[in-house]
Symmetry: C2
Subunit: 349 residues, 2 copies
C-alpha cells in the first residue's frame, strides 16, 4: 500500500508504464492519468474544469447528435490510427446531417497491461485531429478492464453540432431523377487496415483516407445546389451506404462503374484478396445526392476542395419498387450491387 502511494506521487511513466486496473478505479491513479495524459493533450477550458460533464456555450439552432464506437484492429495503420479515426468518424457523421460539428465527447475502454506509450500516441493523434478540425473534446471517461477482456483500447466518440438553418438532409429524401455524386476514390481505408493486419508488404503502402469532412460539407452547402442526402460510406463500403439510402427513400439507383474511381494499389490488393472495393470501408469520402439540374454545379464545388479533387457523378436515382442498386459495368453489362450479406472485413473502424 505504501509503495503504491509513493508511485502515485511520481509523474506517470508514459514511456514505459502500462495501464493498470487502478487507472479506472476512480481514485488517485485515475485522476493522475486524466490530468497528465488526457487533459494535457486535449487542453481546453471545458475539460480543465474537472467536472463529470462540460458546461458549453449557448446553442443557437437545431442540434445534431451522433456517436460511434471504434474497435479498429490493428490500432495503428498507414495514414492513421484509432485516435484520429475516432475524431474524424464522428465529426463526419454530424457533418452529413448538414450541421457544423461543435463539440466531442470521448470515452476510453482500456485493457489492463496496454502500454501507456501507445495510449499517448493515440491520445495525441486524437488531440491533433480535434485541434485541426476545430472541434474540442470537452468531456470524457476512462474505464479499465482486465487483460483478456478487451483489446488494447476501444474509443467511443459522440459529437454535437448545429444544423444549418433551412437545411434538412436525410437518407429518405432521394427522388427519381436525382444525381449521385461521390467525392473520390473508394476502398482506401479498408485496404490500408487490412494490408496492415495481413502484413501485406505493398510498395508504396495503401494509405487510409481518414479525414474530417465538415469543411467539404460547408462548401457543398454553400454551393447553392439543392441537396437531398449526404452520407459517408464507411463500414460495408459504398454498396452498403447506397443500399441503405435506396431502402430509406424507397427508390432504386443506377450506377456507372466507369465513374467510380479506385486507386490502382487498392484495386490490385482487392483483386489479390478476392474483395470488391464497393464493399470496402472509406473514412474520408462522402456520397451526395442532389437535384439533377444542380449536379454539375455541385461537382465543380466538390472538385474545388482538396479532399474531393477526384469527385465524380456516379449515377442517378431511378424508380424501383424493389429498391435495387444496379450498376452498368465497364464491360457494358449490368449487375445488381446487393447489400453485404455476411461479413467481409471485421473491425475496420
Amino acid at each position: 500500500m505504501k509503495t503504491a502511494k509513493r508511485n502515485f506521487a511520481r509523474t506517470l511513466d508514459l514511456a514505459h508504464g502500462r495501464v493498470e486496473m487502478s487507472h479506472g478505479a476512480g481514485g488517485r491513479a485515475m485522476a493522475q492519468l486524466i490530468a497528465e495524459l488526457f487533459a494535457a493533450a486535449f487542453d481546453n477550458p471545458y475539460l480543465a474544469t474537472g467536472n463529470d460533464g462540460a458546461l458549453l456555450a449557448h446553442a443557437q439552432g437545431r442540434l445534431v447528435m451522433s456517436c460511434d464506437s471504434h474497435v479498429v484492429s490493428p490500432l495503428f495503420f498507414a495514414g492513421g490510427d484509432i485516435g484520429c479515426l475516432s475524431v474524424h468518424g464522428t465529426i463526419n457523421d454530424v457533418a452529413m446531417m448538414g450541421a457544423t460539428p461543435m463539440y466531442l465527447a470521448a470515452s476510453f475502454i482500456l485493457e489492463e497491461g496496454f502500454p501507456l506509450a501507445d495510449l499517448r500516441r493515440i491520445v495525441e493523434s486524437m488531440a491533433n485531429a480535434a485541434r485541426t478540425a476545430g472541434v474540442p473534446i470537452v468531456t470524457g471517461d476512462t474505464k479499465v478492464v482486465e487483460q483478456g477482456k478487451g483489446d488494447g483500447v476501444f474509443i467511443t466518440t459522440t459529437g454535437v453540432g448545429v444544423a444549418r438553418d433551412g437545411i434538412t438532409l436525410s437518407g429518405d429524401k432521394a427522388q427519381p431523377g436525382d444525381a449521385i455524386l461521390l467525392s473520390g476514390t473508394i476502398g482506401d481505408h479498408g485496404m490500408a487496415v487490412l494490408s496492415q493486419r495481413e502484413n501485406l508488404t505493398l510498395d508504396p503502402p495503401i494509405v487510409s483516407d481518414t479525414a474530417a469532412l465538415h469543411g467539404l460539407v460547408e462548401v457543398l452547402l454553400d454551393s447553392g445546389a439543392t441537396l437531398r442526402v449526404l452520407r459517408d460510406p464507411t463500414r460495408g463500403g459504398l454498396a452498403a451506404t447506397l443500399n441503405e439510402i435506396a431502402k430509406q427513400s424507397g427508390v432504386g439507383m443506377m450506377l456507372h462503374e466507369s465513374a467510380i474511381a479506385v486507386n490502382e494499389p487498392v484495386e490490385a490488393a482487392c483483386e489479390f484478396l478476392g474483395l470488391d472495393p464497393l464493399y470496402v470501408a472509406n473514412e474520408g469520402k462522402l456520397v451526395a445526392i442532389c437535384q439533377r439540374q444542380d449536379a454539375q454545379r455541385l461537382l465543380e464545388a466538390m472538385r474545388g476542395h482538396p479532399l474531393a479533387r477526384r469527385a465524380s457523378i456516379i449515377g442517378e436515382i431511378v424508380e424501383d419498387a424493389h429498391c435495387f442498386v444496379q450498376m452498368t459495368t465497364r464491360m457494358g453489362g449490368r449487375r445488381i450491387v446487393d447489400w453485404l450479406a455476411g461479413e467481409q472485413l471485421p473491425r475496420i473502424c
Copy 2:
C-alpha cells in the same frame, strides 16, 4: 452464401441466437439487428429516421454534455443491470451540472457469441429507464469484436442537456463555511454488484440504488438554496468524490461519521470483506454543497423527494491548504478520509 442470405431474410432469433461478427459489419445483418432490437425497443422518431446522426429540436440555453462507458461485471445484479445503469449514470452526470437532460446517444461494443436473449434484456432495461426518465435515446452505434476480445457487452452513453438559466454549478465553487449534504445511504450499488460477483448469499440481497436523479435535482434547484456543487459519488465512492471537490476548490472538509447513513446489510458485508463503505460506489445518490444558511431548507427539499428520504447534512467546508477531507468518528476521534490509492472494486459501473 445462399444459406446466409436465407437466414437474414428470417426474423432475428432473439430467443436462441447469438451475436455474430456480421452484426457489426455494416450490411444486412447489422441493419436487421438495429431494426428488430434497438430501434424497436428505443422507439422514437429521431432513431426511426435511420440516419447516422439525429436531427433534434432547436436548443434554448447553455448546453451540457457528459459521457460514460459502462463495463460493469456481472451484467445483471440485484436492482439493475448494465442497461439501466448506463442510462442513469449519464443522466445523472448531466443533471449534476444543473441541467435538464434532453437526449442520449448509446453505443454498444458486443462480443461475438453473446446471447441475443441477454442483449434483449439489457436493451429493454435501457429503453425502460430512458422512457421512465423522459430522455430518449436518439442515436447509436453497434460494433462487434471477436470472442475473447471483449466481455459480453460494453455500453457507452452520452447525454446532452440544457443548463438552467442563472445556475452554474462546478466542483471548484465550494467555500469555507458551506454545508455538505448527502441524499441517502452509501455503498448500496457497489456491494450489490460485488455480492453478485462473489456469489455471497445474503438474505435479503443488497439491492443497487441505481436511479435517475434529474427529478431530485430539479427539486434542489427549485428550493431557492444557493447551490455551489452537485456531484454523484460513483466510482471510488463518497471519499473519492469529496476529495475531488476539495482539490478543485482548494478547501478542506470536516465530515461527521454519525451523519453518514449506511444500510445495515451493506455495513455487514463491508465489514465481512474488509471494505470501507466510504469508498464503495453509489449510482443513485448525490452530494450537494450549499451556502451554510440554506442547508436546512435544502435538506427539507431533499427529504421531500422519494429518492432522498434519508438525506442528511454530513459536514462542512473548512479552510485547509492541504485540501484534506477529515472526519470526526463515532468514537469521538478524527481521521483523514484519503483518496483511494489503489483499486478497491474494479468494474463496478
